[in-house]
C-alpha cells in the first residue's frame, strides 16, 4: 500500500518547479491530487499524461490564489466531490528581488498577496473542511531566506517569514482538531527561478552548502510527502529546512 493511497490533496502553484514536482510525487504515492494553477487549461496535458502513468489521480483546478471568492468556490467543489480534504500544500509564490531603496510598492503588495495572504486565506477555507473529519495536514512552502535573511530579498524573506510565524500559530490553534500545520523551507533550488542567475554567483552559493550541491524540487517534494503522510502524525508547528545545511 502506498503512503498516501486515497488521500485527497490540494496543491497550489503547480504549473512549474517545486509545486509541479510536489503534485507529481503526491500522485506517485497514491494521492488524489487537485493541482492548482492560475492559467486555465495549462495543466491539462501534463495531468492526462501523469494519470496514465500513476495510481494517483491529478485533477487540474484553476484559480488565482489572490481571488478569495473563486478559491472558496473551487475548494467547496473539492469537498463536495470527496467529502474530505486530507492535505493542503500552500506552494504558490512569486519573487521580485529588489534592493532597499528600489522596492516597488506594487511588487511588495503582490508578493504579500500571493506569498502570505493567500496562504492564510486558503488555510482558513480548507481547515474548516478538515475540522469536519478531525484530520488533516497543511504544509506551507516557506524559504531558507525567511530563517537567515538574504540581501536583495528583504520583502520576499518577510513574506515567507510571515508564513513561518503563521504556521507555528496555526499549528497550535488547529491541533485540537487533529490538523497538523508545518512548513518546509527550501534553500537554493534547481528551478526556473534561478535560470537568470550568473554562474559565478551560483557557484558561490553552492560553495556555502555543506552537502555540496543545489537542491532539487524532488528534495522538497520528498519532505512534503513525509509531512503529508501519517509517518509524521506527531509532528506539527515545525519548519523543516531543505537546504543541504546551508551557511548563509
Amino acid at each position: 500500500m502506498k503512503e498516501l493511497e486515497g488521500k485527497v490533496a490540494l496543491v497550489t502553484g503547480t504549473s512549474r518547479g517545486i509545486g509541479k514536482c510536489i503534485a507529481e510525487e503526491l500522485a506517485v504515492n497514491g494521492a488524489i491530487v487537485y493541482a492548482n494553477a492560475r492559467k486555465e487549461n495549462c495543466l491539462n496535458d501534463w495531468a492526462n499524461e501523469l494519470n496514465q502513468k500513476y495510481s494517483g489521480t491529478i485533477y487540474p483546478i484553476y484559480f488565482d490564489v489572490t481571488d478569495f471568492e473563486k478559491m472558496k468556490l473551487e475548494v467547496y467543489k473539492v469537498w463536495k466531490e470527496n467529502q474530505k480534504i486530507d492535505v493542503l500544500v500552500n506552494n504558490a509564490g512569486i519573487e521580485y528581488n529588489e534592493n532597499i531603496g528600489m522596492l516597488k510598492r506594487e511588487h511588495i503588495s503582490e508578493m504579500f498577496a500571493v506569498n502570505t495572504i493567500s496562504v492564510i486565506e486558503l488555510t482558513q477555507i480548507v481547515a474548516k473542511f478538515m475540522m469536519r473529519n478531525k484530520k488533516g495536514s497543511i504544509i506551507n512552502v516557506a524559504s531558507v531566506v525567511a530563517r537567515y535573511g538574504s540581501s536583495g530579498q528583504s520583502v520576499y524573506s518577510a513574506t515567507k517569514g510571515a508564513v513561518i510565524s503563521f504556521t507555528k500559530s496555526a499549528a497550535k490553534e488547529l491541533g485540537k482538531y487533529k490538523i497538523r500545520v508545518n512548513a518546509v523551507a527550501p534553500g537554493l533550488n534547481d528551478t526556473d527561478m534561478i535560470t537568470e542567475t550568473s554562474e559565478d554567483y551560483l557557484q558561490r552559493r553552492i560553495d556555502n552548502i555543506a552537502l555540496g550541491r543545489i537542491g532539487k524540487p524532488k528534495d522538497v517534494a520528498n519532505s512534503v510527502i513525509f509531512l503529508a503522510s501519517d509517518m509524521s502524525e506527531y509532528i506539527s508547528g515545525q519548519v523543516l529546512g531543505i537546504d543541504g545545511a546551508v551557511c548563509m
Partner: protein
C-alpha cells in the same frame, strides 16, 4: 423534517441540550459550552445540512440561536 427541526436538532446535538432551552437567550455569552470549537462544529454542521458555505463575517457574527436564523436568510434558508 422542516428547516426549524433540522436547525434545532443540530443545536441540541452540538450543545447537548433539550429543544426547550433554544430561544432568544441561547447565546455565546450565556451558554458555557459555546466556545470557538463548538461554534465551528455548529457552522460545519449547518453548512452540511443546508448545503451552504458561510462568509467569514457571518461566522463571526453567528453568536446566538436567533442570530443564526437571521444569518441563514442571507443564504435563502428560512428557518420555520
Amino acid at each position: 423534517m422542516n428547516s426549524l427541526s433540522k436547525y434545532n436538532e443540530i443545536f441540541c446535538e452540538i450543545f447537548n441540550v433539550d429543544n426547550s432551552v433554544l430561544n432568544d437567550e441561547f447565546t455565546a455569552n450565556t451558554v458555557e459550552k459555546w466556545d470557538s470549537i463548538t461554534q465551528m462544529s455548529l457552522i460545519n454542521r449547518l453548512e452540511d445540512c443546508f448545503d451552504i458555505m458561510f462568509e467569514i463575517d457571518d461566522i463571526t457574527e453567528f453568536v446566538s440561536y436567533t442570530k443564526g436564523k437571521e444569518l441563514l436568510k442571507k443564504y435563502s434558508i428560512e428557518i420555520q
